[in-house]
């Protein structure tokens, strides 16, 4: 029983990364009908921005020989990384995708893969092949609750992931910017007739998704403090699967699918050899999609209205 509960905590942490990255995938797909295949690498860039921010803040604190507590550095790192990475996302949209808005979707997909390669190899060229160690910001404290070991890091990761998901959901449901995003997901072409600049909404969508990816990157660095230029690829693809599973454009769908994916992966390895993990996990997801082809919260394609 303790082992089981332990794995629930682990799955929640593991799912947090998928959830935060999947939301960005899903939002961009929902609003712009575009899979941003570079999103996993935007997550990687976010992790690196977090790394440099945290290292810089620690050096600054050391220089002034004032004790800035680690949790404060973590909060600042999260905020700064999210802020800066939103500009990375907007640049990807502006340079990579906006010129292709009327092009066939395949062109945009290829461009996305290309942007991903540029970000990976750009990182390699600039920073070298050496891996970076994310600085330990909060020293791990282990709590034992009823036979389950919970670290303060796990709690922070899960709480931040849930809080950001809910905050974004509220933003999309209750602000006029969020309404514009939902409107764009429904009928792209009439949005300008409401006096809404499409390009601004597209940039906003990328900014929000990239900010969440940066949060995922920083939290990932806290849990697994080794950063490399290719760290975003696998997480990116899995988050993409979670976005599909959650349903087009649905934030809560992407988040819950991200957590579900975390659960499936962790629990499969409880029962089967870990080499079978992805095989079994994705078989389960294929089965789910067979019966729910639009995902958890996705609406079937309304025959897309033409102008």
């Amino acid at each position: 029983m303790g082992y089981f509960l332990q794995n629930i905590v682990n799955a929640l942490q593991w799912g947090s990364f998928y959830a935060l990255v999947a939301i960005g995938y899903s939002m961009v797909y929902g609003v712009l009908m575009l899979f941003n295949f570079a999103h996993g690498d935007v997550f990687m860039v976010g992790a690196y921005i977090g790394f440099f921010t945290a290292s810089g803040l620690m050096a600054l604190a050391a220089m002034g020989s004032i004790a800035i507590p680690g949790w404060l550095i973590l909060i600042l790192t999260l905020i700064i990384a999210m802020f800066l990475n939103s500009f990375v996302g907007m640049a990807v949209e502006r340079i990579g995708y906006r010129p292709l808005r009327d092009a066939p979707r395949a062109s945009a997909a290829i461009t996305g893969l290309m942007i991903g390669i540029i970000l990976e190899t750009g990182n390699l060229a600039l920073l070298g092949a050496q891996r970076r160690a994310f600085p330990p910001l909060i020293p791990p404290t282990v709590y034992k609750v009823g036979g389950v070991y919970i670290t303060n890091q796990k709690i922070v990761i899960i709480v931040v992931a849930l809080a950001l998901t809910l905050a974004l959901h509220q933003f999309v449901q209750h602000t006029k910017w969020g309404m514009a995003m939902r409107a764009m997901a429904y009928d792209f072409l009439v949005v300008p007739l409401m006096g809404i600049p499409i390009n601004t909404i597209a940039a906003l969508t990328f900014a929000l998704g990239s900010a969440l990816a940066a949060a995922a990157g920083v939290l990932y660095g806290v849990a697994y403090p080794v950063l490399g230029p290719y760290m975003g690829i696998i997480i990116g693809w899995k988050a993409f699967v979670a976005a599909i599973l959650g349903g087009r454009g649905s934030i809560l769908g992407a988040a819950s699918a991200g957590f579900l994916l975390g659960f499936i992966e962790i629990f499969v390895t409880m029962i089967f050899p870990s080499t079978m993990r992805d095989f079994i996990a994705y078989t389960i997801i294929l089965l789910i999609l067979t019966f729910l082809p639009n995902g958890f919260f996705g609406e079937p394609y309304s025959a897309k209205l033409r102008l």
Binding site: K176, M179, A183, D187, L189, L193, M194, L305
Partner: protein, 237 residues
């Protein structure tokens, strides 16, 4: 002259939809363009609201400004031209209230927006009853009311209306047109395109007849109503 259109040409790929049409609208007028399905009525409105590009050589002047220098969203937010598109095109996944709030996206005057939304509810009480309902669940008539209401809130110097009578029962159609008349009397200029030529000509002061991308006739609406050619081709008499 509020809007003057000269030599407006629009092509969809190789197909020319408008072959250089000319017309104008004065401030406060209700003008209609009638014509058969596919004659170029909707294309004309889309060109004005900059949803489709006008071919080189086209000229559109609105309140002394070159309309072609404005993008689609700025036509609404800076020039005050609203467009009720063909098929209403509501955001079916948003509530009635959200559709109205969204149509005021570029406006900053919070108080005036609230007043305008109240005004829409005053004209169409049915919408207020259903303001929390998803727009996709409204009946056809209610959807048309919301489409007009949305245009009313978004911009109100010139309203472009694409087939507001489409799919409406006669009684509902009359109430929509009554509301449009009231909106016009408050100072909104209206350009209306309709297949329902009789309704459009009764409602408007002046009219143009468009055929396969060319304006073939123009005049006072009552004259067009009595014109034997118009009668034969469009009024089924």
């Amino acid at each position: 002259m509020l809007l003057s259109v000269e030599n407006l040409q629009v092509s969809y790929g190789k197909i020319k939809a408008l072959h250089g049409i000319n017309f104008h609208i004065d401030e406060g007028e209700i003008v209609c363009i009638i014509g058969a399905n596919g004659a170029g009525k909707s294309t004309t409105l889309r060109a004005i609201s900059r949803m489709v590009p006008a071919s080189p050589g086209s000229k559109m002047t609105y309140a002394g400004k070159d309309l072609l220098e404005y993008s689609a969203d700025k036509v609404v937010s800076q020039l005050g031209i609203s467009h009720v598109p063909e098929g209403r095109r509501l955001f079916g996944n948003l509530t009635v209230m959200e559709n109205l709030i969204l149509s005021a996206f570029a406006r900053k005057d919070k108080k005036a927006i609230d007043r305008d939304i109240e005004r829409v509810f005053g004209i169409f009480p049915r919408l207020e009853e259903r303001k929390r309902q998803k727009a996709g669940t409204l009946s056809g008539g209610e959807q048309q009311m919301l489409a007009v209401g949305r245009a009313f809130v978004s911009a109100r110097k010139l309203m472009l209306l694409d087939e507001p009578s489409m799919g409406l029962a006669p009684l509902l159609m009359l109430s929509v047109f009554d509301a449009l008349k009231a909106i016009n009397q408050e100072g909104t200029t209206i350009l209306l395109v309709e297949q329902n030529a009789r309704m459009a000509l009764k409602f408007s002061q002046r009219g143009y007849v468009i055929e396969t991308g060319n304006i073939v006739m123009e005049g006072k609406s009552e004259d067009l109503l009595n014109n034997p050619d118009v009668k034969k081709a469009y009024l089924g008499a």
